[in-house]
Amino acid sequence: MSAISSKEPTIALDGTRKARGNLTSARIRWAMAFVLAVFVVMGGRLVWLGNMDLDTAIEGQARAAIMASRPPILDRNGIEMAVDIQVPSLYAEPRRILDVDEAAEALRTVLPNLDPAWLRDRLTGDEGFVWIARELTPAQRDRVMHLGIPGIGFLTETKRFYPGGPVAAHVMGAVNIDNVGIAGMEMYLDDSTDLGLLQELGLARDSELNPVNLAIDLRVQHVLYDQLVDAMERYQAIAAAGAIMDVHTGEVIALASLPDFDPNNPAGMLEEGRYNRITAAKYELGSTFKTITFAATLDSGAVQITDQIDARFGVRFGRYTIEDFHGKYRILSVPEVYKYSSNIGTIKMMQAMGKENFRAFLTRLGFEGTPVVELPEVTASAIPSNFSEVGAATASFGHGLSVTPMHMLRAVSALVNGGRLIEPTLLMRTEAEANARATQVISAQTSDYIRYLMRLNALEGSGSRGNAIADGYRWGGKTGTAEKVVDGRYSSEKSLALFASAFPLDNPQYAMIILVDEPKRENEQTGRTAGWNAGEVSGRIVARIAPMLGIQPNTDPAVDDRLIPVQLRF
């Protein structure tokens, strides 16, 4: 302690007193500096804590995203196809639960389907947030609230609800439990608009989002869906699908594919075979494709509508000979080749045009790549880039190349609407907008020929069964019964029945494609080919939807007569 102070005599001299004062004064300054330093550290710590971002993520998902809303989706007439509803979801904060067993027991009185072991495990731990049960009813929420368990809470989540259930499943797609679009138009909305971004920022949370109008006409959609369900049962098919498109605007007013799923319960989407057969599957379209070949040859001028085609003998390629299914084996006129679906005649016509020209025409008609549509579920067509002689021959009647039904629907629309190729869309579009982007792929004259041929086939050919049902709506098209490849060979048992059609053919409004996969005979008296199933389905659909779409029935034969090209009138 010698350093402490003076051992001076009892008389305090002024000098020592001053020195003492200076010393203690300096030491107090040191103390003040120390105090300030400590408090600055505390202040800094507080500022640091204030600037710290709280991790409010819920199991990796931003809280705002969970509570984010999506725009309502309406059909073209404003009927709701998808809406948001508010549902309570139960969560727990395990680190705040005082008695896990008690909490678990109490919760199970309201939610008895929760596994006790799982629930206890869920409630144990140090997490700040775990879901217990999502998307409960308001009644369940009230009962859980009355239990008064600490560390248990509810978040209001928005849940996507599809009032129509599976009716437009493949169009709507689905959202996952975090309200993110995972298929169909829901996914398109997330990817193409700012919606995903809005949700991430939390802006889409409370704000009313502008509804999205689809091109779908829900009435037509219902009919299509209904008839496809009926077809599945009637013909014991493994699948059925169809789409209807406005030939002037490219708007797809109905699209359905069976088997399907309920968007309200999207887990079913992943089951085998639930894919969208209109855009995400490609098929050899068979004789339906002859419409394309006819348009190609007639438009090129290589074949005239008045020409006669020699279909007496099969066409030989080395060891193989291609024959007709219902062979007439005589000289056929061009309309007869179409009406009797003569493979021989079609090959001859294509050969007159030349296979390179034919291949180029397929590209012109938009068969390359994936179908142009908003849906994310699309597949690319498979067409050989160079046709061999045989390849071109089989391609002319729809074998050896695969395209999606959506490709075909677009092409058929162009063939009947005066030759304008328009991109299909599931969103609303005016005719002016469509024309602005359309390309002329065939002449209006060729388009007239095709309309005549399609109508002819309904009146006298393979479409007559369907035409009997859709009487008066001037409907027509081309069947196709494509044998499936089983074990590397075309099977006569398993086939894909198609019907590509349009109506009313005197003033085309809508194009339609219907496919029935592996249809069986309805009964002993009926056939198995496309006219019996896909054709009849098409006819039944037209008979129901034409009145809805404002198309007046007209059974006057003069209407059909006016479709006949002048060269063929007698």
Partner: protein, 391 residues
């Protein structure tokens, strides 16, 4: 009104007027403001604790308010004391406190394994709270006497008292109060001018003591381990405190809206700061920290301006004691150091603590009053003094 004005009038020399014009009003109001903060935080922090203990929600709030009344009385009463009575009251408190500390070991109620409380006239009190400020004043007196007149063994007295008190505290055991005693004694040694070399040695010794505490007191070791490695061990309080601090953000969740504080043990006492943060926000906390900092710095500045060595040392010791206690509590709340049972002066719930602090701060106010004799010494006039002389 005129009557009240007359009490405070400078025209006549009433004791109240004398007090009013010589007391440091900034410091006085800062201390009262701190009590107001404490009241506010009590509303936020104590209802959940009271409910958890099965008492009425406002049990601790009401009692806190009730303690504020005598605390303000003690604060103001003590600030009236002249230098001589300051020493006498401190001496009485010290002797009485040490006596009670002895009795506590024998008759004290055991709470969580420590004997710190004793029942006296139906009230449980914690004698160590009163010993702290009393020791600061008495040790300052012993040391100042030795500095002025070398023949008084002041340092020895201070050391003996220090050793006795620390021994009694460690027998309870109460490591927190021991640390405060060490800080007070160390601060006085520092202020009286021990060499930096010796400071180094004593600092090392303090570190050694801390090390011994870690070795010999299992609960200290547990807390330190949990702080250093939060994964292991029980760090429950600190984690909840941090959660509560973060919950409110800059502006707080608003009164009654805090959730984390419900799970914060001792939310009304040691962790009142963290509990209040969730409701009032970080900005409010910064204001509170700023206020405490102002009190300590203001008190030190006033101490520095004292001419009497005893006044200077005693005021500094009291200010540093107050500052160290606040700093330990706040740094624990902010999770900067391992948890340590230490109340926040005037803010935390606790009757003994509040009245003892009021006593200490009252003495501080009394020690730092502007004194006429000093104005004569410096030659700078003070109006009341001049008036007094003129009469």
């Amino acid at each position: 009104m005129t009557a009240i004005n007359a009490w405070f009038s400078r025209e006549r020399k009433t004791p109240i007027a004398e007090w009013w014009w010589t007391i440091d009003r900034e410091l006085l109001f800062a201390l009262i403001a701190l009590m107001a903060f404490g009241m506010l935080l009590s509303f936020a922090a104590s209802p959940p604790v009271a409910e958890r203990l099965g008492l009425g929600a406002w049990h601790f709030v009401a009692r806190h308010a009730l303690f504020c009344v005598p605390a303000i009385g003690v604060l103001i009463g003590a600030s009236f004391l002249p230098a001589k009575w300051i020493r006498i009251s401190a001496l009485v408190s010290l002797i009485g406190g040490i006596g009670l500390l002895v009795l506590v070991l024998r008759y004290g109620t055991e709470v969580k394994g420590a004997h710190r409380w004793i029942s006296l006239f139906g009230q449980t009190i914690q004698p160590s709270e009163f010993v702290k400020p009393a020791y600061a004043v008495m040790a300052a007196w012993f040391m100042s006497e030795q500095m002025k007149r070398g023949d008084v063994p002041g340092q020895a007295f201070a050391a003996v008292f220090f050793a006795a008190i620390v021994t009694l505290l460690l027998l309870q055991p109460d490591v927190g109060q021991t640390a405060l005693m060490v800080a007070t004694y160390g601060a006085l040694l520092f202020l009286t001018g021990i060499s930096w070399w010796l400071i180094g040695v004593l600092g090392g010794a303090a570190m050694g003591l801390a090390g011994l505490a870690y070795i010999f007191f299992p609960h200290v070791a547990r807390r330190v381990d949990a702080f250093i490695n939060p994964e292991t061990g029980d760090n429950y309080q600190a984690e909840r405190a941090l959660e509560s601090l973060l919950e409110g953000g800059w502006f707080g969740k608003g009164p009654g809206e805090g959730i984390a504080k419900r799970y914060l043990p001792d939310a009304h006492a040691d962790f009142v700061f963290a509990a209040g943060a969730s409701e009032f926000g970080i900005l409010f906390c910064l204001m509170l920290v700023g206020l405490i900092c102002f009190i300590v710095i203001r008190a030190l500045i006033l101490a520095q301006s004292q001419h009497s060595l005893f006044n200077r040392l005693a005021a500094s010791a009291l200010a540093i004691q107050f500052g160290v206690q606040s700093a330990i509590n706040l740094t624990v709340n902010l999770n900067l150091i391992p948890p340590k049972g230490m109340t926040l002066p005037f803010v935390s719930y606790g009757g003994t603590s509040m009245i003892a602090i009021a006593f200490g701060m009252g003495l501080l106010l009394a020690l730092t009053r502007r004194k006429p004799e000093e104005t004569f010494a410096t030659g700078l006039p003070i109006r009341s003094a001049v008036k007094h002389e003129a009469l």
